[in-house]
């Protein structure tokens, strides 16, 4: 999970490493993900988002499809 200066830099990196280009995430979307995942992490009752919660969080940010599905079997068994 890495930062890149531009889409061109992502494409260069993927090509160099033979890695598929995945959906790109904007900085404002990444902040929303960070808040959804971690804003309560220091509280006693905090826990990791469960699969249904993950899907809802991703969908609320327009991040949909098999890549964001925590239970997808499209990429092999988890």
């Amino acid at each position: 999970m890495l930062f890149f200066r531009s889409e061109e830099r992502v494409r260069e990196w993927c090509e160099a490493l033979g890695v598929p280009l995945r959906p790109l995430v904007r900085i404002d979307q990444l902040w929303a993900l960070a808040v959804a995942w971690y804003a309560t992490r220091l509280q006693p009752t905090s826990r990791r988002p469960q699969p249904d919660e993950m899907r809802r969080i991703f969908a609320s940010l327009g991040l949909e499809g098999d890549f964001w599905d925590p239970q997808s079997d499209r990429f092999g068994s988890a």
Partner: protein, 146 residues
């Protein structure tokens, strides 16, 4: 409150206060138990995907968003420099601490430095991008690679 929850709270409090991973003895003192009990809790918390441990079973590699080892992703909050596990977690640290800060990282391809102020409402508009090569279903297969 059960022991595992006490240990989890103590681990996160330690990271937040010290900006480094705790030794098992430090958690034992915070919780008021022995090191063997802490290590038993660590193993259960690993199984629950709360912590990621080094192979020794007692050194914390990750208590997301905090990293137990130095990385290229740093969150500066309240004068402390916290290592994050990844780009996502570098935003997660100021989010978890509920404080303003600065994220320092880099473009993985060009190595251009990134320095981004994080306000209470997040970072200012930026055209930098985030890319994750591993699908969500496989993030915990190898969390270090992810």
């Amino acid at each position: 409150m059960d022991r595992d929850l006490d240990v989890k709270i103590a681990v996160y409090a330690h990271f937040a206060e010290e900006a480094r991973r705790p030794a098992p003895g430090e958690i034992a003192r915070r919780v008021g138990c022995g090191v063997p009990e802490v290590l038993a809790s660590y193993a259960r918390l690993r199984a629950q995907r709360v912590l990621l441990l080094e192979e020794d079973g007692e050194s914390i590699r990750m208590a997301p968003p905090f990293s137990g080892v130095p990385t290229q992703h740093v969150s500066v909050v309240g004068g402390r420099r916290y290592f994050a596990n990844c780009a996502w977690d570098s935003f997660g640290i100021p989010a978890a601490l509920g404080k303003e800060g600065t994220v320092e990282s880099r473009c993985e391809q060009s190595r251009e430095p990134l320095r981004l102020a994080i306000g209470r409402d997040g970072p200012p508009p930026s055209d930098w991008l985030f890319h994750c090569a591993v699908p969500a279903a496989h993030w915990w297969d190898d969390l270090v690679l992810t």
